[in-house]
């Protein structure tokens, strides 16, 4: 059954100059959408992908990546709203391009976060005045 899965990949320094992810298409019959890519010459590489394909192929593709010493994490774990720090101002709502940060109840005007929708673009992070949104890659 075709599903999609959002993952955060961290490439060790030793691997950043090697083509790795293309194999997900070639050998594991997956397609992917690159949501974010950050390869620094002196540092580890970072990629946020949305993988699309059959469940079994996604699993095998992720196993392949792990065998290449690539650290694989599901995306949802990485954007965290610190509700203690949040002042419920709503500044983030108009910054979020996908509606992951939103106000549903317009009487209470409380801000809510749907991690499923989040694409980790980080556009919400700096506009948040109490800096309550933490990006943990």
């Amino acid at each position: 059954m075709t599903t999609s899965k959002r993952i955060v990949l961290k490439f060790p320094k030793s691997k950043i100059d090697q083509p790795i992810v293309y194999k997900l298409i070639k050998d594991y019959d997956l397609s992917f959408n690159i949501l974010r890519a950050n390869i620094m010459p002196d540092d580890e590489g970072l990629m946020v992908l949305e993988l699309i394909g059959e469940d079994a192929n996604i699993k095998n593709g992720l196993d392949y990546l792990k065998k290449q010493d690539v650290n694989v994490q599901p995306l949802e774990k990485d954007i965290v709203v610190n509700w203690e720090k949040c002042t419920q101002c709503g500044a983030c709502v108009a910054q979020c391009p996908v509606g992951a940060l939103y106000i549903k109840d317009r009487k209470t005007m409380k801000v809510e976060f749907d991690p499923e929708k989040c694409i980790a673009c980080e556009l919400c992070v700096l506009p948040c005045p109490p800096r309550a949104i933490e990006v943990k890659f």
Binding site: Q88, A91, P130
Partner: protein
């Protein structure tokens, strides 16, 4: 029908007063009508929670042995410069002050991670804060250097003093240019990408008393989680500006200077905040009770979001260049819906002031008054009102050659 403040306070002390939050008041008026509610309700609580840059705290640290004269010297709290233009150990920390080595907008937009507002929050939260100072030394104050941790509970006076808070309405910021703007009203996306507003609207204290008939110098308020008082009219107070037919300001008009003992406040209601590309500041929670003295007072306090209009201002050109043209007007019901229409385009809105926190404050203030020990004060002096001729002026430059 007229009630006196004294009568209302007697009822409060006996636990018999009818106190409601502004939201509850609106429900009651809808069910029972103005006349009945004016008789039955004694106090309505209003509130706001948002960034208020003209905020500060002054502290007397206590004397050291041997003594040091911070006055006229240099001092920092957690690296943030404090004002030392007072006597030996009196200092003031301002909300927007930042460490000297903060890059600010050297690489635009700067992050502005830490400033005076954060120091104030940390002090109130009970954290130790580093006081570092150099002094020029005198016979009576010989010491030239001081490096010590201080804590709010150990200092003498620690007073929150905010020269301008609780703006009576504010602008709605938009961006008509094609590059992102970083302002005190948040990040403005290009080409009418979003519209940011900053007001508690129908909950906002001064919007419920548009001509300052009940709020004045000496009014007792909820300030930062503790008790405070209105000290004066705030800076940029502009009572004579544009109002709608119901007297409600259509532009930013009145402001309040407020004061209170920092030691009884809470870091839940005084928060250091950072505005990317703009600076640091302090978000302050304020709650003000309004006595329902007459039907007239109630009519003013019955104002709804849909009755309060604000100007949509372009922050790419009109605002920075001091031009008075506006893009349009919109009311707070429209703004709070999440989307407004400007020049035929659907524009998402974001508030910078927290309506839900304001609701919380109005509930807390209601509970304080219900307990019976928070009575309302009669102002000792009025704030300049619309007929006073008090006017906001620009700075007409006279360049120094």
């Amino acid at each position: 029908m007229v009630k006196t403040l004294q009568e209302i306070n007697e009822k409060i002390k006996k636990g018999q007063a009818v106190i409601v939050t502004k939201e509850e008041l609106l429900d009651l008026i809808e069910k029972k009508g103005i006349e009945r509610v004016a008789k039955e309700v004694d106090v309505v609580t209003t509130a706001t929670f948002g960034p208020m840059c003209s905020s500060s705290a002054y502290i007397n640290t206590g004397h050291t042995r041997p003594k040091v004269k911070l006055g006229g010297g240099k001092a920092t709290l957690n690296g943030v410069p404090v004002y030392t233009g007072f006597a030996a150990v009196d200092i003031t920390i301002g909300a927007t002050a930042m460490p000297d080595d903060d890059p600010r907008n050297a690489v635009h937009p700067g992050e502005f991670k830490y400033g005076g507002g954060h120091v104030i929050e940390e002090l109130v939260a009970g954290k130790d804060v580093a006081l570092e100072a150099t002094a020029y030394g005198t016979d009576c104050y010989p010491r030239k250097e001081l490096k010590t941790w201080i804590n709010l509970k150990d200092v003498n006076e620690a007073v929150l003093f905010n020269p301008r808070n609780a703006y009576q309405n504010y602008n709605v910021a938009v961006n008509l240019s094609d590059r992102t703007l970083y302002t005190y009203l948040g990040v403005l996306k290009p080409n009418l990408g979003n519209a940011n507003y900053c007001s508690a609207g129908q909950l906002s204290p001064l919007l419920n008393d548009p001509f300052y008939k009940t709020i004045g110098v000496g009014t007792k308020i909820f300030l930062g989680g503790g008790i405070g008082y209105v000290a004066w009219h705030g800076t940029q107070h502009n009572p004579g500006g544009l109002r709608g037919e119901n007297g409600v300001p259509k532009r930013p008009l009145g402001t309040l200077a407020v004061i209170g003992d920092l030691k009884q406040m809470s870091s839940k209601w005084l928060k250091g905040v950072s505005f990317v590309g703009y600076g640091t500041t302090l978000s302050v929670g304020i709650g003000i009770p309004i006595p329902i003295l007459s039907e007239e007072t109630l009519k003013y306090a019955a104002v709804k979001d849909a009755d309060i209009y604000a100007a949509i201002v372009d922050y790419s050109d009109a605002y920075p260049n001091g031009k008075t043209d506006i893009v349009g007007e919109v009311n707070y019901a429209q703004l709070k819906s999440g989307e407004i229409e400007i020049k035929g385009k659907k524009v998402p809105t974001s508030g910078m002031s927290s309506y839900s926190k304001a609701q919380e404050i109005s509930e807390i203030l209601k509970s304080w008054i219900k307990k019976g020990d928070f009575t309302l004060t009669d102002p000792v002096a009025p704030l300049p009102s619309a007929d006073s001729g008090y006017k906001l002026r620009p700075l007409n430059e006279r360049p120094i050659k």
